[in-house]
């Protein structure tokens, strides 16, 4: 193959796209929108003890890590191509490196944050 590793990033993009499609809207709703509108059951659900209890499970942590990892790679792959499609005069390789570095930073942060819970 003529040395293109795009397939690798695209596979992360698609896997992350499916996960983000399933998971992100309901998380946005439950953590920001519903409590923001003062919806009682969601305000209660966001209490420290309840959230800590939920996220404390190893299984939940694992699901959260995989979801955040893949969603970050999905998002930054798309952001990278959006910048290219908007004809922003950025050289291709540095843009790709920066995009996936940022996604990696997000992934590593997720690992650290979840480890500390």
């Amino acid at each position: 193959m003529k040395g293109s590793h795009e397939a690798f990033w695209w596979s992360l993009f698609s896997a992350g796209g499916i996960i983000a499609a399933m998971l992100i809207p309901v998380l946005v709703f439950a953590t920001v929108v519903a409590p923001g509108f003062g919806w009682g059951v969601f305000v209660d659900a966001m209490q420290y003890d309840r959230i800590a209890g939920l996220v404390g499970h190893q299984l939940v942590k694992a699901i959260l890590f995989v979801s955040i990892w893949l969603s970050f790679f999905h998002a930054f792959h798309r952001i990278r191509h959006l910048i290219l499609d908007l004809h922003v005069p950025v050289p291709g390789l540095p843009l790709a490196v920066l995009s996936y570095l940022l996604a990696t930073a997000g992934t590593v942060s997720a690992a650290i944050v979840l480890w500390r819970i």
């Binding site: 193959m1 003529k2 397939a7 690798f8 290219l84 499609d85």
Partner: protein, 247 residues
């Protein structure tokens, strides 16, 4: 009172390198297409107008132009759908203009050649052995992608072709995919070298405009996405089975 419509036509003179729009008021019949109007202009009003056309029935792919900002076969663009006008007629986008509405499509032909758009065999089947046997189900797999008439409307619609001049583009990639799916073909490895390169399928961001404008419903965007899926599987396979050949 005859029906007339104004056509705003792109004119380009390669000798002076001057580009301009020229208005023509054209008396039209109810069943006319834009191509009829262009031919009328050339015949009756301004013989210097240059444009390509041939079959006038949507199968040759010669008369592609941008009509009111949208890539169309002008033989299939009915005047009545654009009334009251004016109707803006421009050459296909993303191509060098040779003259007026005529574009230089060498760019497309070079890209098309890169995907080896013919059946490749390790060894040619001898005549005495008869034809390749192919079931209707095998034919169905690639049939949709055989309908491409090389009209290049898809290249005109694609934003990636616009900013990545080396991008192989919708039609070339769809045709490469067509041969990869053909059970008689043994040239996948050859094609994938080009299709999976950085100028190949990976430049595509699935805008999908190519499929929207395709007059033969080839769905090049779908072909490219399928090639991405199979290309990704090939990629991971090449790590797991590095000595395996690509067939």
């Amino acid at each position: 009172m005859a029906n007339t419509v104004v056509l705003e036509v792109f004119r380009y003179d390669p000798d002076t390198q001057v580009a301009r729009m020229q208005d023509f008021e054209v008396e039209y019949q109810d069943d006319w297409v834009v191509l009829d109007a262009l031919n009328h202009i050339k015949d009756q009003i301004d013989g210097s107008l240059s444009h390509r056309w041939s079959c006038r029935m949507g199968v040759c792919g010669s008369c592609g132009m941008v009509v009111n900002g949208y890539p169309k076969l002008t033989c299939s663009a009915f005047i009545r759908d654009y009334l009251p006008g004016p109707i803006r007629v421009e050459p296909l986008a993303n191509f060098e203009v040779e003259r007026d509405l005529i574009v230089d499509f060498d760019m497309f032909l070079e890209k098309l050649q890169k995907v080896t758009p013919w059946l490749v065999r390790d060894e040619e089947r001898p005549i005495e052995d008869g034809e390749h046997i192919q079931t209707p189900a095998q034919l169905a797999q690639y049939k949709q992608y055989t309908f491409c008439i090389n009209c290049m409307l898809c290249y005109s619609a694609c934003p990636v072709v616009s900013h990545e001049p080396d991008f192989l583009g919708p039609a070339a990639l769809a045709l490469g995919h067509r041969y990869n799916l053909d059970s008689r073909d043994q040239g996948k490895g050859l094609r994938l070298d080009e299709m999976l390169s950085s100028d190949g399928i990976w430049d595509c961001t699935f805008v999908g405009a190519c499929s929207d404008v395709c007059p033969k419903h080839v769905d090049p965007a779908g072909a490219i996405q399928q090639a991405k899926v199979s290309g990704t599987m090939e990629y991971f396979k090449s790590f797991l089975m590095p000595t395996g050949s690509r067939k």
